[in-house]
């Protein structure tokens, strides 16, 4: 579902739906694209201020389509002037507009605190590999270019022709190329369809392959009572309410001399390196042992780790999800399927499919949006090659957009670059 909150929500409704639905009535209606074609058909509800969750005008759009369609609808809203909600933004607004009480304010704080860091880390991972190295290369180039342009403005008395020496025109061109490469990759959708990566990890025989089969709803991995059945990583994409989730079954971890198994275990760790979520399986008949603790210690790079206590049917307990010391523990049986829905629900929440929290999906949207901003500014910069101060302004804006992905880069940092590179000053 997409929710738009703010003064212009009814205007956005008129543009996308052709009219603003009557307040608080579910209206079944087409969602229209720029050219009038239908993006999706679904339910729209309009809540005028102040009688809404946030206290502002709210438009809710609930379609049928999967991620890609939702994605197009979101882009459409953004193009119409909405900005992506910050983590916890709706709740924050609700609070600021006196819609929530004091106790709930504490929850808002938790929300902002917990989700930002995690989501940002996950999102960077989901943009991993080629994509993120492009982003970093882009940042370096932009800083380098700005260094020359700003030096030319602030230090005209130096005996250096910064614009020529810096090859400003070429640099701008190469940044443009880098960006268009990035945006075509993004548009091809490979990145967007990546989804979140969930790795199943644990000692042999704890039931990893069984859980994989449960989640996928089919027999993908071989299950036997022999420890060390799975030798290689096995990947499967499942859809939970339209959200793509990649589940990776791995070879059980143990000391071994078997050469094939050793390779398999190496692959297990490699799979963990790029995962967003690690499900650490434990045999409920034993509970968490020293072995599992050392596995957890090696997974600190994974943004989320969840304890899965499998085989509860053997100890006769019922499915459960609970928090212990900041970690989530889920009790289930991969054999009977009890508790699987708890796990699915939890995965969805982590993916950001719950109102209010920001998950990987939204954080990644933000990144792509930021790159759009960079492109815009770089295009403008190209028109201002003869006006260094306007060129500098466009590049500053490009940097501000990029900062949303890569973190702060202040004007003082930039001066530091200049003084480090050039002998400036009398």
């Amino acid at each position: 579902m997409i929710r738009v909150s703010g003064r212009a929500a009814p205007d956005i409704a008129v543009t996308i739906l052709g009219r603003c639905p009557s307040p608080r009535h579910a209206t079944y209606i087409d969602f229209l694209d720029t050219d009038g074609s239908t993006i999706d058909r679904g339910i729209a509800i309009y809540f005028p201020a102040p009688h809404s969750y946030t206290g502002e005008n709210i438009l809710e759009l609930q379609g049928h389509g999967g991620t890609a369609v939702l994605q197009r609808l979101l882009q459409r809203c953004l193009a119409l002037g909405a900005k992506l909600a910050e983590p916890g933004e709706f709740t924050k607004r609700a609070y600021l507009n006196d819609k929530l009480d004091l106790a709930q304010a504490e929850a808002v704080a938790d929300l902002i605190d917990a989700s930002t860091d995690l989501a940002a880390r996950s999102a960077m991972r989901s943009l991993s590999g080629e994509f993120s190295s492009h982003v970093h290369a882009l940042r370096e180039r932009l800083i380098n270019l700005r260094m020359y342009v700003e030096a030319c403005l602030d230090f005209p008395e130096e005996d250096i022709d910064f614009i020529t020496e810096g090859g400003v025109i070429d640099k701008l061109e190469s940044i443009r190329n880098e960006l268009s490469l990035l945006s075509t990759t993004a548009k091809q959708g490979s990145i967007l369809r990546e989804g979140i990566q969930v790795v199943l990890i644990g000692q042999p025989n704890v039931g990893k392959s069984s859980l994989m089969n449960q989640l996928a709803g089919q027999d993908i991995a071989i299950v036997t009572a022999i420890a060390g059945t799975t030798r290689d990583t096995i990947r499967s994409e499942i859809q939970l309410e339209g959200v793509p989730i990649h589940v990776i079954d791995t070879a059980g971890l143990r000391e071994t001399v078997d050469e094939v198994e050793i390779f398999g275990i190496q692959r297990t760790w490699r799979a963990a390196e790029t995962a967003h979520i690690a499900l650490i399986l434990v045999d409920a008949t034993h509970g968490i042992t020293e072995n599992e603790k050392s596995i957890l210690a090696r997974l600190s790079g994974v943004p989320q780790q969840i304890w899965i206590h499998n085989k509860i049917d053997l100890v006769n307990s019922s499915p459960e999800i609970r928090e212990v010391d900041g970690k989530t523990h889920i009790f289930l049986s991969a054999k009977t399927g009890h508790g699987i829905s708890l796990l699915k629900q939890h995965l969805l929440e982590l993916a950001g499919w719950r109102a209010g929290t920001e998950g990987v999906f939204m954080a990644r949207q933000r990144h792509l949006k930021a790159l759009d901003g960079v492109s815009q500014s770089i295009e403008n910069a190209k028109k201002n090659l003869n006006q260094a101060e306007l060129l500098a302004e466009d590049l500053r804006l490009a940097q501000e957009s990029l900062n949303e992905i890569t973190g702060e880069f202040t004007s003082d940092d930039l001066l530091g670059e200049i003084f480090g590179r050039f002998c400036i000053g009398k």
Partner: protein, 634 residues
């Protein structure tokens, strides 16, 4: 002895900060005392004899727009004027002048002596009188007690100064003045957070021993620029050129051979020097690949032969200084009049200040100038002016004033200092201003004179000139927007000359002026109108038309952040109570106690999420009023 008069404001220090502070307070009608250890050095340029430059010129124009003395004194004492970046856009153009030290000093002294409400007194200040957590006055060297509601401290480089020439060092203030040691000791006792910085000067040269015939001449601009909005070229004394010399490989060799006796390279100096104003030894060590460095030979005045060789600041031993100077072409026979030196001095962490420059620790005590970790006359003057204004406001129980980052470079300066502190002497650059396109020299008066008038620092003469200019701009803008030109109206040849080609439909004149290639002058030639003749008015019309798109965008940006920017944080807030803030953020914020949410966000290491948490907390605790429009989110 208790001095019989009681003052509203006492200003300690007669440098560029102190004089602007005292003049501003007195212009506002406050009974003001300027205390200096030496009346002869009021308005002294103790370092290089120039005023302005990129970023700095912007500050001078702002000081001028608020009725300050620096621009006018430069117009009266300037012996070379140039506009830097004249080939680039108006936002980065900046005025720079060489000033005759004696004429400049005289111009400042005259203003001080003739300023109503201002008392001058010569005595070094040794101590401050504090009652509870409030300032009550100062005590001088011979025990005179002066009482006042507010005190502005602008003691500059004199605080605990230590001069280095080679491995020799001695306690002193700038240029032979005594250091304010006891005051520094007293301030240290108050346990205001302090640090140590360093700066340097080059050896001065006797101009009669320079061979100018082999040097490159750098004349001033023609027509001669002026600094003050009220200035005119007729105020300028005789004009002189500067000269450009170059270091060479031999110079660098001499410097390298003397490094074992350099206080910097042997670790005697502990203060941090500026990265942008390196000593010549730093230049050749850090940029070994650069074969030659420029040295600008700047005349110190009309009545002196002394030359300031800008670019070879050094603290090497004197014998090395002689050799290095004489290795430079044109300076083979140069006689050094004064050795170069480095000076270390105390500064107070400006994060201990409010944006009014009042110390957070002691009410009514204001700090301005180099004491806050800045460098440069212009930065000092700007701070002095603001500290003076706020001390005056405080003395009469009026609310403090500080321009915002989108309003003035002064606002950028203050905000940078109080939120980020300094790690080297702070100097202004245009790249520090995110709203650079709006903060131009040419519109400093439009940005500040009106508010200055309200505060009381702008006199009638300036106000009338400003009002006339504003009216002319408004009138002519209106006319340009209302007047349409039609294809049939325009002569084909003139249209082609001005616009590149004949227009195909009607346009308002203002629309045509927005085109980059169309000047106001050329626009007038299209219709044969006379237009406005005042160059300042013409300039505003042109710039505001051409920059409009960018300025509108920046205005948008400012509008969006206004609510957060100005949301006040109560002084007694304990950040440990703010749920979700990291320990590091809590500690930082508890130490620096930002005044607004905007300031908090600029403290290093404070993330947007932390700002959100604070906002939620403030709302909860203090029922922050109406949240305004937060924009649309999806």
């Amino acid at each position: 002895m208790q001095f019989p008069e009681i003052f509203d404001v006492i200003v300690v220090g007669g440098g560029h900060a102190g004089t602007e502070a005292a003049l501003a307070s007195a212009r506002m009608g406050r009974k003001t005392l300027l205390l200096t250890h030496n009346i002869e050095t009021l308005g002294q340029m103790s370092c290089n004899p120039s005023i302005g430059g990129i970023g700095k010129g912007h500050l001078v124009k702002e000081v001028d727009a608020l009725g300050g003395a620096m621009a006018t004194a430069t117009d009266e004492g300037g012996i070379q004027f140039r506009i830097l970046n004249s080939s680039k856009g108006p936002a980065v153009r900046a005025t720079r002048a060489q000033a005759d030290r004696i004429l400049y000093k005289a111009a400042i002294r005259w203003r001080l002596e003739n300023q109503p409400n201002l008392w001058l007194f010569q005595q070094a200040v040794d101590d401050v009188i504090i009652e509870g957590d409030r300032i009550a006055g100062v005590i001088t060297q011979i025990g005179l007690r002066f009482k006042a509601k507010a005190v502005v401290l602008t003691a500059g480089t004199f605080l605990n100064g230590l001069v280095h020439v080679g491995l020799e060092n001695y306690r002193a203030g700038r240029a032979g003045d005594p250091p304010a040691i006891s005051l520094a000791a007293r301030l240290r006792e108050l346990s205001l957070p302090a640090g140590r910085l360093k700066t340097g000067t080059p050896p001065r040269i006797d101009g009669r021993t320079i061979d100018y015939s082999v040097l490159e001449e750098q004349p001033g601009d023609d027509p001669v620029p002026v600094f003050s909005f009220l200035g005119s070229p007729e105020q300028h004394p005789q004009q002189l050129p500067c000269w450009i010399a170059h270091t060479n490989e031999r110079t660098h060799e001499i410097i390298r051979s003397g490094l074992d006796r350099s206080p910097m390279y042997t670790g005697v100096i502990e203060g941090v020097g500026p990265r942008y104003c390196p000593s010549v030894e730093d230049k050749i060590m850090r940029f070994a690949g650069k074969e030659s460095h420029q040295v600008f030979l700047e005349p110190e005045g009309l009545a002196t032969n002394e030359i300031y060789p800008n670019g070879i600041s050094t603290s090497l031993p004197f014998d090395v200084q002689i050799n290095l100077v004489r290795s430079i072409r044109g300076l083979e026979n140069a006689h050094i009049l004064r050795p170069g030196y480095a000076i270390e001095y105390d500064y107070y962490d400006p994060r201990g200040l409010k944006n009014s420059f009042e110390t957070k620790a002691i009410q009514g005590l204001f700090f301005g100038g180099q004491i806050n970790g800045t460098t440069g006359y212009e930065e000092a003057a700007a701070q002095g002016l603001l500290a003076g204004i706020n001390a005056a406001l405080y003395a009469w129980d009026e609310p403090a004033w500080c321009p915002s980052r989108d309003q003035a470079y002064i606002g950028v300066l203050v905000d940078d200092l109080i939120t980020r502190g300094v790690s080297e002497p702070y100097r202004m650059f245009t790249s520090r201003a995110e709203y650079r396109l709006m903060l131009r020299e040419d519109n400093a008066d439009i940005r500040l004179t009106e508010v200055g008038r309200k505060i009381g620092v702008v006199d009638d003469v300036r106000w009338e000139a400003f009002s006339r200019k504003q009216e002319a701009i408004a009138r002519e803008t209106e006319r340009l927007k209302r007047t349409f030109v039609y294809p049939a109206m325009l002569d084909e040849t003139i249209a082609t000359a001005v616009l590149g080609k004949q227009i195909e439909r009607e346009y308002p004149l203002f629309e045509l002026l927005r085109r980059p290639e169309v000047s106001y002058e050329a626009l007038l030639s299209l219709t044969g109108d006379e237009g406005e003749s005042d160059p300042q008015v013409r300039q505003q019309l042109e710039i505001s038309a051409k920059y409009q798109g960018y300025i509108d965008r920046q205005q948008d940006e400012i509008q969006r952040s206004r609510y957060y920017e100005s949301l006040e944080i109560p002084e007694d807030l304990d950040y440990r109570d703010v749920k979700g803030l990291s320990i590091e953020a809590q500690q930082k914020l508890n130490v620096y106690k930002p005044q607004t949410l905007g300031q908090a966000g600029r403290v290093s290491g404070i993330t947007p999420a932390a700002v959100s948490l604070l906002l939620v907390y403030l709302k909860k605790k203090y029922k922050a009023k109406n949240t305004k429009d937060l924009g649309d989110a999806a």
